[in-house]
Structures are given as structure tokens and as C-alpha cells.
């Protein structure tokens, strides 16, 4: 997919471009807010990655103006200002995700992919399926190979998020933010334990494992 990176730090822009290209995307780079806004409103990008502090025009302002102009391309804001308050401001301005600097490259790639997939499903989804694992969002039930699996409400939400992002790497931070709505990283690996409990319920009795651990990054649900 096509990604626009607007970042004034040349070295960081270069690294981002390469990382995204390695991940299979087509990447354009702009180095100031005004150029970024023009490019974003003209060319058909799938995802926009904006730095917050940009020359000529602040990233957050650009996003607000783009949204007012009717551009609905998903936006990820990168910023050194990553306090909870700043995140909320950024999201209120119309961006879809917010990542604090410095960040882990895998984290960024996972989020960019997730933005694109998130956009894909526009109609209301009532059923999710990954391999022989099925989730009915209305009845709140989960079946694998026809057998019913009982999940706690939180496990259900965790699995729902993983299924909605099937095939993609989902980081621990993403899970904490999207499933638990916590915007900080605990020291203890609390998420890992929740994942292993979920894994015990959906994978233990089956030959094919669906929930994979991606070393150093996070998890991926895949048939």
C-alpha cells in the first residue's frame, strides 16, 4: 500500500522509508507541513504518517485541516510529546493513532498495517473467522472446529482484536491500548499471561496453532 511520511528529520525519514519499504509499502516522503498537506490531499495514499513538530505547519494542524477538507485517509501521528494529554489532543484533532518518539520500528510497522486494515472494513461486521476459529459478535460466542469455547469478557475482546487484525503483528503496547485502554507500559509482562491463557483455550486441544508469538515484537493470529 501507499504511505506518505511527513518528517523533517532527514535521518529518521530515511530510516522510516526503508523500514516501510522493506515491509512491502510504497513510500513518499515530505519534510514540511505545507508540502505534506498538499501531497496528502492530492495523491491517493492509504496511510499518512505525520510528525507532530513540523516546519511551516504543525502536523496536528495539518491533520485537522485535512479532515475538514474531507480527506479521510487514516493518520498516524509521531511525536516526542507522548504524554497521555498529548495523545488525547492528537486523537481529537482527527488522527487515528498516536505513537510516541522514540519508538520501536516493529511497533510502527504494526500500527501502520493496523490502520490500513482498520479502514478496510467499513460495513458493520457480525462474524469473524480465522481458519476454523469463528467468532459471532452478536451472540458473543466463539467456536473452533464446531466446538464451543467459553471466554471471559476480556478474553473475548482480546481475541476479537486479534481476529480483526489477523495476519498482522500486534504489539503488547497495542493490546494494552486497544483492549485495556491503558496508555503506559507495565514492567511486568501482564499481557503475556493473558495471551497464554487465551492460547490455552483456543489452541491447546488443536493440532494447528493459530496464536503465534513474534519474538521481540508481539503476537500474530494466523491460520
Amino acid at each position: 500500500m501507499k504511505v506518505l511520511v511527513v518528517e523533517d528529520d532527514f535521518e529518521l525519514a530515511r530510516t522510516l522509508k526503508r523500514a516501510l519499504e522493506d515491509d512491502g509499502h510504497v513510500v513518499d516522503v515530505a519534510s514540511d507541513g505545507v508540502t505534506g498537506e498538499t501531497m496528502a490531499s492530492v495523491a491517493g495514499y492509504d496511510v499518512l504518517v505525520f510528525d507532530r513538530m513540523l516546519p511551516h505547519k504543525e502536523g496536528q494542524e495539518v491533520v485537522r485541516d485535512l479532515r475538514e477538507a474531507g480527506v479521510s485517509t487514516p493518520v498516524l501521528i509521531l511525536s516526542a510529546l507522548d504524554g497521555v494529554e498529548h495523545r488525547v489532543q492528537g486523537l481529537n484533532a482527527g488522527s487515528n493513532d498516536y505513537l510516541g518518539k522514540p519508538f520501536n520500528t516493529d511497533e510502527l510497522l504494526a500500527r501502520v498495517r493496523s490502520l490500513w486494515h482498520g479502514r478496510d472494513r467499513n460495513g458493520p461486521v457480525t462474524r469473524l473467522q480465522v481458519g476454523d476459529l469463528e467468532m459471532d459478535l452478536l451472540a458473543r460466542t466463539v467456536h473452533r472446529g464446531g466446538a464451543k469455547i467459553d471466554l471471559q469478557p476480556r478474553e473475548f475482546r482480546l481475541l476479537e482484536y486479534l481476529m480483526r487484525h489477523a495476519g498482522q503483528v500486534v504489539t503488547r503496547t497495542m493490546l494494552l491500548e486497544k483492549v485495556w485502554d491503558y496508555h503506559f507500559d507495565p514492567q511486568t509482562n501482564v499481557i503475556d499471561v493473558h495471551i497464554s491463557r487465551l492460547r490455552a483455550k483456543i489452541d491447546r486441544d488443536f493440532e494447528v496453532q493459530l496464536l503465534h508469538t513474534v519474538r521481540g515484537s508481539g503476537y500474530r493470529l494466523e491460520a
Binding site: D82, F184, N189, V190, V193
Partner: protein, 452 residues
């Protein structure tokens, strides 16, 4: 001036009120005498009354008498003739008459205030008091009042001078304190006299402010050293490792290992760096939007998040009953503080231990979130110190973490106008354990007052 006018007005009031009271009492005495004589007449007739009047007017006393027959002819008494009585239909009334009094200096005419009336069958009875008597009483009173006024004015002027002197002296003391602080001595404190007045309040506020400033200055000072240590050390280590890798003969596997190490080390540095940044944001005046929220579900959700990890670590995690507890707060920050406490509890509680998470109302009406564990605990002497930034106890220096976890909890508690306490926890074989308590001001219907 206003004060003097007030004193004058008050004294005038006292004078008039007292003078009124004096003449009222004198009139009452006259009236009583009149009634008494009236009853003498009823029982003893004109003769009995006459005896009484003769006897009384002869005796020295403040009252004057007159008895006249129905035609107005004087029978007995102090007056040489019947005064001209106002024509009136009523039985008895009051009037002012002169009377001649024989004194050592001769004959004087005194004004009298008299009660008079016609008795049954017509005789006229007059009982009067000397108006000079009450005038003299009034003048005595005026004199006393004048003295009192003089003394009180003198006293109030003196008191005013003393108060002004004291006030200026205390202002001088306070400004002396601020001068010393401005000169750089943050440890100086204003003296609180303990009188509980506005100056004490001001001095106390000044001291609280100074304590806070001193704490921050201290934190900044130690943070400088600590940052130097905590960031420079890993960066130096990283640098050495990279030097080593560059200096040795190329080996793909060893190089990759060095790179992995480099990544982990930078991640640690970045984590510390982020934590420092967040702490300074919490400590700075930056305004955090606090909203009305219930901390019971926050505690509930945090327990749910940590419970599996605790079980995995061989700990028993329990939680207390939670009822709605409203505070003015920041949900993310409270959650993060709680996560730090749970991280710590899990890190320092040996396998088989317990962690108890609860929230409730304290005896003083404030609310608390309590994380109690049966772990190693912290010696009471160190409990204050561990809340400071970058402080790690000797015993744990080897463990990871920059020593910022409790500092963050402390900062979050302070941001909410609360306190962060470390107390004895759950007793076990290993010791008394540790209870970390975040105290927050309650926000409810009755005393839902909050500042900030």
C-alpha cells in the same frame, strides 16, 4: 477616628439607658409609696393617713409629701401650698412641682417630680421625688463614664500601637524570610507564632511553599546526578560493547549479538528517559485535566489485568470489596500508579506470598487504594527515601528499573492533592511485608470540595 466615634456613641447609649433606668426606679419608689399611703387611708382614714404623712415628711429622705383636703387646703406635708394640679379626669397622674426645702444654707427651691391624685371622698395626696437627686446620680454617672471613656480610648490607642508594631514586626520577619530565600537559602523558614492568626496562616503557607520548592530543588539536584549515573552508565557500557565488536575480527554471529545487546540497552535508556520526562511533567505546573471518576472500577480492572500474572508468579492475589468511590482525578495516571505498585509488589514478594489489593474510605474521610504484600518490605527508616527519584535500596541495586516507579506514584498522589504512604503490609515468615497506600481526597455530595 471611627473607633473614637464608636466609643462615644456606645458611652452615650450607656448613659441614656442608665439615666432612664435610674429615673424609672425612682418613679417606681414614688408610686410604691403612694400606693402604701393610699392603703393606709383605706384602713385608717384621713387621720391615719395624716399621721403617716406628718411622720414621713418630718423624717429625712428623698421623698416629699403633701396631704390636702378636698377643697385643696393643705393638711400636712412638705409643700406650703397645694401646687396647681392639672385638671384631669383620671384618678392619679404625674406632674412637676417646685418645693421649698430648708437647708443649712437657707431655703432652696427644688424641682420635684410628683405622683398625685384624689383619694376616696376627695382628699388630695401628693408623693414626689427630688429631681435633683436623679440629676446628681446622672452627673455622677457621666463623670464615671467620662473616666471610662478616657481610659478605654487611651487603652485602645495603646493597643492599636502595639498591634501595629507587632504586625509590622511580623511582616518584617516574613520579608526577612523571603529575602533569605531569595538570597538562595531554601532551608530558611518563617516563624509560626502559634497564635492562629492571619500572619501564622501566611507564614505557614510560605513554609509549605518553601518545603515544596526545596523538595523540588533537591529532586532536581539529585536527579541531575542520578540521570548522569543512570543514563551515562548504560550508554558507556553500550559504547564499550560497540568498541569491542568493532575492534575484534569480523564475525557475523558475534556482530548480531552485539547489535541485539545494543538494541536492548538503548531500549532501557529510552525507557528511563521517558519515565524522567513523565515525572517532570507531573511535577511541573502543567495543568492536568482532572475529571469526576469512580476509582473502584479502576482498581477492579487493574486487579483483573494483574491477577493472571500474579498467579503465574506463584502469588495469591486477592482484592477487597469495592463500592463506588468518587474522586476528582486522572484515570490513566491513577491506573499507572497502581500498575507501578503492583509491579513492585510482584517483584519483591517471593513465590507463595500474597498480594492484597483494596480500596476504601479511611477514618479521616479520605479514600485510599492499598496494595499490601507479604514480601521483603522496606525498613521504616528507608520508606521516605524510596519515594525520591532514582533511589533504589542497596539490596535491589542489581535489579532493573531506574528507581522511578515510586517517585511517579508519589507525584501522582501529590497531583491529586493526596498522599502516598508506605506502611507495614501482610505479615509473613519473611517479615512485615509492605503496604503501599495512595490516599486521595474524596469527592462526594456532602463535602465534595476540591482544589486545583
Amino acid at each position: 477616628m471611627v473607633f473614637l466615634a464608636l466609643v462615644f456613641a456606645l458611652l452615650s447609649y450607656v448613659y441614656y439607658a442608665t439615666a432612664f433606668q435610674v429615673s424609672k426606679e425612682a418613679n417606681d419608689a414614688v408610686l410604691r409609696e403612694y400606693r402604701l399611703l393610699e392603703s393606709t387611708y383605706d384602713s385608717g382614714g384621713l387621720r391615719g393617713l395624716n399621721e403617716q404623712v406628718v411622720e414621713r415628711s418630718a423624717a429625712p429622705g428623698p421623698l416629699y409629701y403633701l396631704l390636702a383636703d378636698q377643697d385643696g387646703k393643705v393638711i400636712s406635708g412638705d409643700y406650703d401650698q397645694l401646687p396647681r394640679l392639672p385638671a384631669s379626669g383620671s384618678q392619679s397622674e404625674w406632674g412637676e412641682f417646685p418645693v421649698k426645702v430648708t437647708t443649712e444654707d437657707g431655703v432652696e427651691e427644688h424641682k420635684t417630680y410628683a405622683h398625685f391624685g384624689r383619694l376616696l371622698n376627695g382628699p388630695i395626696l401628693v408623693v414626689a421625688r427630688d429631681m435633683r437627686e436623679s440629676a446628681a446620680a446622672a452627673s455622677r454617672m457621666t463623670k464615671a463614664l467620662t473616666y471610662a471613656a478616657g481610659i478605654s480610648v487611651a487603652f485602645s490607642i495603646l493597643a492599636g500601637l502595639v498591634a501595629a508594631w507587632l504586625a509590622s514586626r511580623r511582616v518584617e520577619l516574613l520579608s526577612e524570610t523571603t529575602r533569605k530565600v531569595m538570597a538562595g537559602d531554601l532551608t530558611h523558614r518563617a516563624r509560626v507564632e502559634g497564635w492562629g492568626d492571619e500572619f501564622d496562616l501566611l507564614a505557614q503557607n510560605l513554609n509549605d511553599m518553601l518545603a515544596r520548592l526545596e523538595k523540588q530543588a533537591h529532586a532536581t539536584r539529585t536527579a541531575g546526578d542520578a540521570i548522569a549515573h543512570d543514563l551515562r552508565t548504560p550508554i558507556t557500557r553500550l559504547r564499550q560493547r560497540l568498541d569491542e565488536a568493532l575492534g575484534s575480527t569480523p564475525d557475523a554471529e558475534a556482530d548480531r549479538e552485539a547489535l541485539r545487546y545494543a538494541r536492548e540497552e538503548t531500549d532501557r535508556v529510552l525507557k528511563t528517559f521517558n519515565a524522567v520526562l513523565q515525572l517532570s511533567r507531573l511535577n511541573s505546573a502543567e495543568s492536568w485535566r482532572l475529571t469526576r471518576l469512580d476509582i473502584a472500577p479502576i482498581v477492579e480492572e487493574m486487579a483483573e489485568l494483574y491477577e493472571p500474572a500474579a498467579e503465574e508468579a506463584g502469588l495469591v492475589m486477592t482484592k477487597g470489596r469495592a463500592s463506588p468511590m468518587m474522586v476528582l482525578g486522572h484515570a490513566q495516571l491513577i491506573s499507572q500508579a497502581l500498575a507501578n505498585l503492583l509491579d513492585n509488589a510482584m517483584k519483591y514478594t517471593p513465590k507463595g506470598g500474597r498480594v492484597h489489593l483494596s480500596c476504601g474510605q479511611r477514618a479521616d474521610g479520605r479514600l485510599e487504594i492499598r496494595v499490601a504484600d507479604s514480601g521483603l518490605g522496606i525498613p521504616p527508616a528507608d520508606r521516605e527515601r524510596v519515594k525520591e527519584r532514582f533511589v533504589r535500596l542497596e539490596a535491589n541495586l542489581s535489579s532493573h528499573g531506574a528507581g522511578l516507579g515510586l517517585a511517579l506514584v508519589d507525584a501522582v498522589a501529590e497531583l491529586h492533592g493526596g498522599d502516598f504512604l508506605l506502611e507495614d503490609g501482610l505479615a509473613s515468615g519473611a517479615g512485615v511485608g509492605l503496604a503501599a497506600v495512595v490516599v486521595l481526597p474524596a469527592l462526594d455530595g456532602r463535602d465534595g470540595q476540591r482544589f486545583r
